[in-house]
C-alpha cells in the first residue's frame, strides 16, 4: 500500500524526511529541500547581489548538490551571483585524481568556471610525498591545514567575495560533538556559525548547514547527479569515526538530534573569563593565523627541514625537536637554528639567493621557488601592490611593517614562549590544556586537523571539504 505525499498533492511519497518525519513525493521533496536552503541563504544574508562566489568543490555528494542547488536558486530567485568552482588537488593518487574528474563534469554540467590549485604547486609537496615522509598517522593534519589555506589562496586568485562549502547538518553536529569531546572551546564557539571569517580572511559560508545528509544523498539520487564516493586512501581518523558512528546511531533513534546538537552548539555560551586566541596575520605567508607563524608555515618548514613532525602536537614538542635539530646541525642555540631556518625561508621568495645557499637548496623549497612562480606571486603579490585590492592582505602587510620585530625574534617567541603564552585565567589544569592546544588552534575555522570530508567516515574507514 503506497504512502501518499503529505502535502495532499496526490502523488506517491518517496521518502520520509528526517527533519520533520513528513512523507513527501519527489516534486514536493525537491521543493522543500530547495526552499529550505533558500531560506537559510536569505535569513543568514550569506550573499549580496553581484557577488562572486567560489563553491569549494571536491566532487563528493555535498559539493555536487551544493553546486546544483546554488545554480538553481541563483536563477530562480535572481541572486545575481557569479558562481565558480574551486578545487584543491591534494595529490592523492587513486582518490583526488578521480574525484577531480567529477568536478570537471560539474564544471561542464553547471557551466561554471573551475579553478584547481594543487598542493604541489602551492607547497612543493603532494600528499603522497608527505605521507611517504610522515607516515599515515598525522597526515590529516597536513592535509587539513594546507587545504584550508589553499582555499583562501584560490579564493584570492579568483577574486571572490566568499567561499561556499558543502558542510551539511550532520557534519556540523559531528563537529560540535568532536569539539566537546576534545574540550576545544575556541572551535566549539565558532563551528556552528553559518558564516565564518573575520577581517583578513575570505568568509566561508555554509548554505547546507541545516540540510540533512540523508536528504542530500536522496536529492542527488533522484536528480541523478553524478558524484564521487570513494574514501580517501589515507589514514582513518578513529576518534572522529567513533563520534560519527555515535551520531548516526542516535540519529536512527531520534532524527531530530542532529538539529538539536547544532542548536546546542549555537546557543552554548562561553564563560567570559576564558580568553580565546586572537587572530592575526602570519608573518611569513601573510595569511590569517592565531600565532605569529601559521600552522601551514610550521608544517611546511618541518617537511622541508626533514622534521616532518614539527608542528604536530604541543609547542613544547616542537621546541624539543628544534633543539635536537640544532644539535645535529652544530648550532649551539635555538636562536641560531631559528636564524638558519629563517634565512632559509627568506630564500623561498627570492630566486636569486636560492642557489647560493648550500643546504637549503637540497630541500624542495628551492626547486619550488625556481619552478613555481605562483608561490612567489602569492607572497609577493600584496607587497608589490599588484593585487586587485580585493585581497585584504594589503592592509596587513602595512601592519607588519609597523612592527619593528625581526622575524627571528618573533619566531623565537613562537617556540620559546610556550610557558608564558598562557592566556587563560582558569585553573591550572585548564591552563595546560589550552596551552597545549595552542599550536593546534592556529586557524579560525573548521577543524582542520582532521579530514573534513571522507576521512574518518566509513567505520573506522575514513578528504573533502
Amino acid at each position: 500500500m503506497p504512502v501518499l505525499c503529505r502535502t495532499g498533492c496526490g502523488k506517491k511519497a518517496v521518502l520520509k524526511r528526517p527533519k520533520t518525519g513528513d512523507a513527501l513525493c519527489k516534486e514536493c521533496f525537491y521543493h522543500a529541500f530547495e526552499a529550505e536552503i533558500h531560506y537559510t541563504i536569505t535569513k543568514g544574508r550569506l550573499f549580496n547581489n553581484g557577488d562572486s562566489v567560489a563553491i569549494a568543490a571536491s566532487g563528493g555528494k555535498d559539493s555536487t548538490v551544493l553546486a546544483h542547488v546554488m545554480k538553481t536558486l541563483n536563477q530562480r530567485y535572481k541572486y545575481g551571483l557569479n558562481l565558480m568552482l574551486l578545487s584543491i588537488d591534494e595529490g592523492i593518487t587513486g582518490y583526488r585524481d578521480d574525484s577531480l574528474e567529477t568536478v570537471k563534469q560539474n564544471r561542464d554540467d553547471y557551466e561554471m568556471p573551475l579553478k584547481i590549485l594543487s598542493y604541489k604547486d602551492l607547497y612543493g609537496w603532494t600528499m603522497d610525498e608527505i605521507v611517504a615522509q610522515i607516515g599515515r598517522k598525522n597526515n590529516c593534519t597536513f592535509c587539513g591545514v594546507f587545504r584550508r589555506q589553499a582555499l583562501d589562496r584560490g579564493a584570492a586568485m579568483l577574486n571572490v567575495k566568499c567561499i561556499a562549502t558543502g558542510h551539511n547538518a550532520d557534519d556540523i553536529a559531528e563537529t560540535v560533538l568532536m569539539n566537546v569531546l576534545r574540550g576545544d572551546i575556541a572551535r566549539l564557539k565558532r563551528c556552528t556559525s553559518i558564516s565564518t571569517g573575520s577581517e583578513g580572511t575570505i568568509p566561508r559560508v555554509k548554505p547546507l548547514k541545516y540540510t540533512y545528509e540523508k536528504e542530500i544523498v536522496m536529492y542527488a539520487h533522484y536528480k541523478k547527479l553524478v558524484y564521487f564516493s570513494t574514501e580517501c586512501v589515507f589514514a582513518p581518523n578513529a576518534y572522529r569515526g567513533h563520534a560519527r558512528a555515535l551520531l548516526k546511531d542516535m540519529e536512527k533513534i531520534r532524527p531530530s538530534c542532529i538539529m538539536d546538537i547544532i542548536y546546542s552548539g549555537e546557543t552554548m555560551a562561553v564563560k567570559e573569563d576564558i580568553t580565546l586566541p586572537t587572530q592575526r596575520i602570519c608573518i611569513r605567508c601573510k595569511f590569517v593565523s592565531s600565532q605569529e607563524v601559521c600552522k601551514a608555515c610550521v608544517l611546511l618548514e618541518g617537511l622541508n627541514k626533514g622534521l616532518p613532525r614539527l608542528g604536530i602536537g604541543k609547542s613544547s614538542k616542537a621546541k624539543k625537536m628544534l633543539e635536537e635539530y640544532n644539535a645535529k646541525q652544530g648550532h649551539t642555540t635555538i636562536k641560531e637554528t631559528m636564524q638558519y631556518l629563517d634565512n632559509n625561508y627568506t630564500n623561498i621568495g627570492n630566486i636569486e639567493n636560492c642557489l647560493s645557499n648550500d643546504k637549503l637548496c637540497k630541500s624542495r623549497v628551492c626547486k619550488v621557488s625556481k619552478n613555481n612562480t605562483q608561490l612567489i606571486n602569492i607572497s609577493g603579490k600584496c607587497n608589490n601592490g599588484h593585487c586587485s585590492g580585493q585581497c585584504k592582505n594589503n592592509q596587513f602587510s602595512k601592519d607588519k611593517e609597523n612592527k619593528s620585530n625581526t622575524k627571528i625574534n618573533i619566531l623565537l617567541e613562537q617556540y620559546e614562549l610556550s610557558e608564558t603564552s598562557n592566556n587563560v585565567t582558569v585553573g591550572p589544569s585548564h591552563a595546560n590544556i589550552l596551552n597545549a592546544t595552542d599550536l593546534d588552534n592556529l586557524y579560525p575555522d573548521q577543524d582542520e586537523d582532521s579530514c573534513s570530508g571522507t576521512c574518518g567516515k566509513m567505520g573506522s574507514m575514513q578528504i573533502g571539504f
Binding site: A13, L15, A23, K214, G453, T454, M458, G459
Partner: protein
C-alpha cells in the same frame, strides 16, 4: 513457495564492499531451505540482509551491517522509495523488487 528474483543495487561507496558491482540480479532460494529454523515462508528485508551477508558481502561486514539491520548511515530504497515508508526490515519482498543500498558515509 519457490524462489524470488530481485535486483540489488549498491552505490554511494557501498559497492566497494561488494566487489565494486553496482547492480546485480539475484535469485533467492525458498526461505524454508535457506533459514529452516525461523519457520517462515515469506522473505522480508530482514532475511534478505542475512542472505546478502552470507552470499555477497566480501569484506568488512561491520561496515554494512549492524545488529540485524544495515549500519546507520546506509540508506535503503525499495523500488526507488525510502524503506522507512515501507516498514524497513519487515517489508515483505515481492518478485521483481529492486532494493538499493546507498552509503552516505563517504565525504563530500
Amino acid at each position: 513457495m519457490s524462489g524470488l528474483t530481485v535486483t540489488l543495487q549498491f552505490s554511494g561507496g557501498a559497492e566497494l564492499l561488494f566487489d565494486k558491482v553496482k547492480k546485480r540480479e539475484v535469485e533467492l532460494p525458498a526461505l524454508e531451505k535457506f533459514l529452516p529454523q525461523i519457520n517462515k515462508t515469506d522473505w522480508s528485508l530482514r532475511e534478505l540482509l542475512v542472505w546478502i551477508k552470507d552470499n555477497l558481502l566480501r569484506e568488512r561486514p561491520e561496515l554494512f551491517l549492524q545488529g540485524d539491520s544495515v549500519r546507520p548511515g546506509i540508506l535503503v530504497l525499495i523500488n526507488d522509495s525510502d524503506w522507512e515508508l515501507y516498514g524497513e526490515l519487515d517489508y515483505k519482498i515481492h518478485n521483481g523488487d529492486t532494493i538499493m543500498f546507498i552509503s552516505t558515509l563517504h565525504g563530500g
